[in-house]
């Protein structure tokens, strides 16, 4: 007997883009739920291909002093402007609220955007946020009209405070920046999601591989922000595509609604009508 396999319909294979499943950052409507950092790509060509492969619409950049000795180097902005992405400047490297506010103001002036990824770091070895300074900076920037995306530790109370201050997005870490340790405390991330339903949440920092991104999305996070896991992968462009698919899978599974966990088996085939019964 000849068996002809039916082709899978395209319907339902992709949750992305087709279903109008948008989220937004302070009014900026986004289809892609994968934010990318731009740091550490081996060269501009790989960066371009990875950003395209990831399908990202929001890319972070740092604000740094112009190189006084050579102002002719290829502008990052020129490269990024060739892609359909918005720029999210960050305050990486700031240790006080005062520094972070100044860098945010410089970013707004340089890039003509109110978006700011707020990072206020408390320690060189862990790069964990200084909560006191972070909250102060967030308040000042929100009051100054910035759309604040606040990088936070995975403490539900701090995240709640950042949301209450008026941050457009709260971004708890999965594990320390660049560590690739994945979701070390998924329970806290789950609590944060359950506590904060009125503000978009992004898992930022610590994603190591595709399954980490999927797990974050399965928890109901609106998006993930990834840098090192892509730029330092053996094949950055391939990893960017993997992350895109991982985010889509996680989002789709979240929307589909996972089954509850149970300790004991539950037969999936019917018990009635078994042979010999």
């Amino acid at each position: 007997m000849e068996v002809t396999k039916k082709e899978h319909s395209e319907n339902g294979t992709v949750v992305e883009e087709k279903c109008g499943d948008f989220w937004n950052v302070g009014g900026l409507e986004l289809k892609s739920r994968l934010l990318l950092g731009s740091s550490g790509f081996p060269n501009p060509r790989v960066m371009m291909e990875a950003l395209a492969g990831a399908g990202t619409q929001l890319v972070t950049v740092a604000i740094r002093r112009v190189n006084l000795k050579d102002t002719s180097e290829d502008s990052l902005l020129e490269i990024i402007s060739r892609l359909p992405v918005d720029i999210l400047p960050n305050t990486a490297g700031c240790y006080t609220a005062k520094e972070a506010v100044l860098v945010a103001e410089l970013a707004r002036e340089a890039l003509e955007t109110n978006l700011i990824k707020l990072e206020v770091i408390g320690d060189d070895d862990t790069l964990l946020p200084d909560v006191d300074q972070l909250l102060r900076a967030a308040k000042t920037l929100v009051d100054s009209g910035f759309t604040v995306c606040a990088y936070s530790n995975d403490d539900p109370i701090t995240c709640r405070k950042l949301a209450d201050i008026g941050c457009a997005v709260v971004m708890p870490l999965a594990s320390p920046i660049g560590s690739g340790m994945g979701l070390v405390n998924p329970y806290n991330l789950q609590i944060i999601r359950e506590m904060i339903t009125d503000t978009p949440l992004v898992v930022d920092a610590g994603i190591g591989t595709a399954s980490d991104a999927t797990r974050a999305m399965e928890l109901g996070y609106d998006a993930v922000l990834i840098n090192t896991a892509i730029t330092k992968a053996k094949h950055p462009v391939q990893m960017a595509v993997a992350m895109r698919n991982a985010v889509l899978a996680g989002r789709s599974a979240f929307l589909a609604g996972r089954i509850p966990r149970r300790f004991y088996a539950q037969a999936s085939s019917p018990m009635e009508g078994r042979v010999g019964s």
């Binding site: 604000i63 002093r65 112009v66 006084l68 400047p89 340089a110």
Partner: protein
């Protein structure tokens, strides 16, 4: 210093300019054309100077000028 020149700090480096040099003069000396400087921002003594105010920004001895742009970052 009393050599009649303008001693300021630019991006952390000590610099000396002719007396009376203003912010636009400093930017030009670094081959940054104020007219086509998208992506660049300036602060003097920790205060951001809006682009439209660059031409009116005079500098005083000891001023600290920061000139920044976007770079790769996560």
């Amino acid at each position: 210093m009393s050599d009649g020149r303008l001693h300021i700090t630019v991006n952390g480096e000590e610099k000396s300019y002719e007396s009376g040099t203003d912010l636009v003069g400093v930017l030009r000396s670094l081959e940054i054309d104020p007219a086509i400087s998208a992506g660049v921002a300036v602060a003097v003594n920790d205060t951001v100077i809006r682009r439209q105010a660059w031409t009116h920004c005079r500098l005083a001895p000891g001023d600290s000028v920061e000139i920044v742009t976007a770079q790769q970052g996560g």
